[in-house]
Symmetry: D3
Subunit: 247 residues, 6 copies
């Protein structure tokens, strides 16, 4: 179900073991070739495709398009929420719905920079409502194998405005890709120091990390399909109870 399209009376009669799915994206620079809304576009696409296959089991909210993007602020047009506001928005959404009886919440994230605050926000909620269930994952976690299999450049994981992201935007919204500006960037840095916080103006020339020149819409479709499949399986399991499997 798409929450935005429902009336309150529609919501009132939903089963309360439905999984509330909240996509989290960003509006931040994605190099000279991809639009600022890239992460929001991709998280939304994956979440909506999953909702289409789980209509009765998922209640999908609109995408939180204002992400935690401080590391991109040097590039014009990037918008970033502070961590307090970002995490507060997630908590406020959940705390609006908890009194209506919903108990299962899952964030589908499309922006790496949101992962830590998504974790903190969900833990804050779990501390307040220990009998409810809270989860979060990056959509591309469900597509790790597809990414690794399909990318032909040297980098085999999801990076930023890279071969994989450019491929997915090409597939979904080719009109928004600046094909003539596709660019490989941020190639050299494997920092010798583990665990450092980087801003993107420190580690790239024009804002991307990876081999966007190798992008194709076919790869994009394959990665998205894999992400949707994985997310569907995960949300279905959450909707159907919560099964622990032996080791």
């Amino acid at each position: 179900m798409k929450l935005a399209h429902l009336t309150w009376k529609d919501v009132d009669v939903l089963a309360r073991d439905i999984v509330v799915v909240i996509p989290t994206g960003s509006l931040e620079q994605h190099g000279p070739h991809l639009p600022l809304m890239t992460d929001t576009l991709l998280a939304t696409a994956v979440a909506e495709a999953a909702e289409a296959r789980l209509v009765e089991e998922v209640l999908l909210t609109p995408t939180l398009w204002l992400g935690a993007s401080g590391h991109h602020l040097k590039f014009s047009g990037t918008l970033s929420a502070g961590f307090d506001v970002y995490m507060g928005a997630i908590r406020d959404i959940v705390e609006s719905l908890l009194p209506h009886g919903f108990r299962k919440f899952f964030l589908v994230n499309g922006h790496g920079g949101n992962a830590e605050p998504n974790g903190v926000a969900m833990r804050q909620l779990k501390a307040r409502y220990p009998n409810s269930q809270f989860g979060h994952a990056n959509y591309y976690t469900f597509a790790e194998k597809a990414v690794s299999d399909r990318l032909v450049g040297p980098a085999k994981t999801m990076r930023h405005a890279c071969e994989a992201e450019a491929s997915m935007v090409m597939y979904l919204r080719p009109d928004l890709v600046r094909t003539e500006k596709l660019r490989d960037d941020g190639l050299q840095p494997v920092p010798a120091v583990l665990g450092m916080v980087h801003h993107f103006d420190e580690i790239s020339e024009e804002g991307s990390l990876g081999y966007a020149t190798l992008a194709t819409p076919e790869k994009g479709k394959a990665i998205l399909d894999a992400a949707v499949d994985g997310l569907v399986a995960n949300l279905r399991a959450l909707a159907q109870g919560y099964v622990f499997e032996g080791e």
Copy 2:
């Protein structure tokens, strides 16, 4: 310009006297007949229509769809940001763009409950950045005459999920109107006490205020057109400088 569709390089070359327009909506109950996204839909439609006529003079962000809707929370599915989070999101957007050189910001609001915090947030920003310009208005302020002229029910002003709002949703997204559930509600209360804060479960039966049964798409179009005309004139004046007129 639609910010979400641009790359950072596109933004980088924009004129800095462009007006940044931020629509603010809500995701809250609108009676048994209109979808939760009503305010977001309408604010977005008005803002996008204005942007289409002022492409070079307006930089349009995505709509803040999570509003200050505490007075609707008794109705299932309503989401509400706390005031701190709501105002923080506005400030964070503006404070992301100020270092990029933008100086004129205007909120186009579609939800009455946002008006006070919009004012507070813009005043907080003005206090920090007195040389920049900050404004905000409800889109329907620009359509007061059209609303008064067109509505046939006893209420001649914009209320909630009313004849006017239902008409506009009918015009824009007829698929989202539950025609068979259109309902007049909240008719009796002209409270004898001025200035009281009400929750909608206190002053309506099913969440709306006004005569939605009288809605027609034609009225909706007329009201929207008037709102767009007024907003365009206002934004153009702001973009073109900032002229004071004698009394």
Copy 3:
């Protein structure tokens, strides 16, 4: 009742449907002719006069004299609370009295800049205590007709350190009016752009808006009387229950 003059034992035996009235003022510049305490003086005078006529129905607190006056800070001597502190003080007062059993709260405001945060604060309280009643109004809302009828200058509404405010201070505290410095100011600005946030150093020369040179104590008395009459009627209605009237 004046809360400040009572002992806790006096308060303990009050009826709990009494209306707690909290005046909100400011300590901010009022041009070269009126004292910084103008708004506080006027809100207090109106509230005390109302209390004198509703002794058994109103419990009057001291006036919050530190207002939200950021738009006047360029003028020496203006004090301003940040919005968080300002709204927090209102909430703290109410939340002190709620556990004592009081349930009806009304802010009588004398400073335009307080109106938005007064609204936000009362809505925050209503969200926490939905079974209690919270209201707020500018005292001059109750005197709109008297203002319009009595003012002889071109401006027919309450502005700032204007014909109306100067008249009222002349009536109440003539010793505090700098008669020789009465000044008309801020006359030209009807901004062509609706909804902009202004600081007073942008829109006036010496801090006032309107035709203070036309002030007389007689006008002041008439406006104050009208405000008190309106406020008394409103508070009485709130004290006596809470009556909705049909449309």
Copy 4:
């Protein structure tokens, strides 16, 4: 100078080494015999008397009458600010005036419960503005000898609604003393454990500590005179520079 009575133009021409004096009081229970405004009354009286003797050297703000009185909240009518709001109000006042050029700030406190947050607030300000000067003291610190000399009951220090406070209110506002309800209370507890936080409903029967039945207006005058003398000397020294004396 009384800030509230000045215009901004008056303030604009003041010498910037004037000491800004901010009285801090409370609105809290003072037993069955003294009014809720007792602390505010006394701090204001002492501060105003000092200002009257140091007109050119002191800029006196209105009294912050909403104190940190959580330990009295069990008694009806007590109002208390949370510590954040209380300290925020002090900081906001000072930070309004610092840009106007003032550099010396002193809190004259009338309520024991304000002493710790007064210290914290002034230290927060000193950390931000190390070149300005911030101080605070309880007015009765300047009258310790007079209190000790004059009180005839067993307790020889300032307590709460006690022989000393009752005497001072008798002197200043006899109409506000409930003479027939004067009461000795809180007599037994010298707790065997040092450093415990007490609420007044734990350590008194009706809210006071000490021997109020022994109060006389003469004692009140003597204590107030001593406090004013001490405060005047202290403020004068601060206004005149800031002299360190050898040990």
Copy 5:
């Protein structure tokens, strides 16, 4: 009991009238002769010695070594928590243990700058949990007589990196005293103005106040012994109930 050494099962079976003791120190400059950890060292030593004598009556947490030391920040290496963080840490510790059933909490403080925020934090807790018991004291309050008796320099009270503190560090950790740099400092200032907030770079040359050159380990032992004796008596009384004594 030392909490850090216990397992959760050990804690689970403790008597709930045990006193939770939380030492509070600092990591701040102590002149050229004492280590930054001086306050933490001393508060810990006193608290641990008391715990050793009250094993069954005290549950000792690790020392909060990050204090409120803004007044020392001009000296390299000083660390300081803001007041919000400092008081928040105390509240979080207590609010972790309250749900486990503990009800008596006492802060043993070793740094003067912590005294006010310790008081505020404990009052905030008391306001939330009025049926639990909260106390705090500086360890040296229990040694006032020993300090006064033993010090041979002109200053007879505990100051900062002074004869007394240097003596105690000499006794406990002679390896951490820079004997060749022992220095008398801050000797002249008895400010003529009472109640001013000072930073240590204003009132000393190299960061200490007092006569450290006169320090001896013997004095240190005597002062520490007195502090432990006093603290033990106080904690025992708190553990054994809470007895009020007549005046």
Copy 6:
């Protein structure tokens, strides 16, 4: 260098490209067999061993022993800081030292629950001070291979109070291990749903995850040695500049 042992004069002459190392631990339940201080003990041991080998290149602060342990609070004796306080303490430490000229900061973490807030705190600092360097890592990240090689139970990664942690505590502080209570726990749960937030009372019986019964001090030493080796290499690289390596 150990900051706690230095005087401010010692710190004042340190090279400013030294790496400030802040260990972060916890005080939380570690099953029936390990002490509450386990994470603090281990993070401290690794950090101190690294400092001993990098005396001139590392400035080591005391360990933040109060971690983000909300997921363990159901077990008696666990202390947890809220995220705001936890992250605030890290920021306050760094912001104390930045004005002293230090520019490189690294958190060595011993508690999984701290990893997300450590990341957020360092990103907040990087946003404020983009020209300084901020990093963080779990100490056991440097020992992944040693853990995988040495553990003999089915779980080959670091878990909680597990074979690896028990081994390390056995090696460092055998007196604190309850050998007779060593227990395997939390064995079954490989949750079928990825990304869920768990509290430890949901996923274990007595608080641990893994095969503690297989612990030996030899394994503990091997893991610690590996962690120290890896951390030393990482800190040295950070101290010596900041080298990017090609891919």
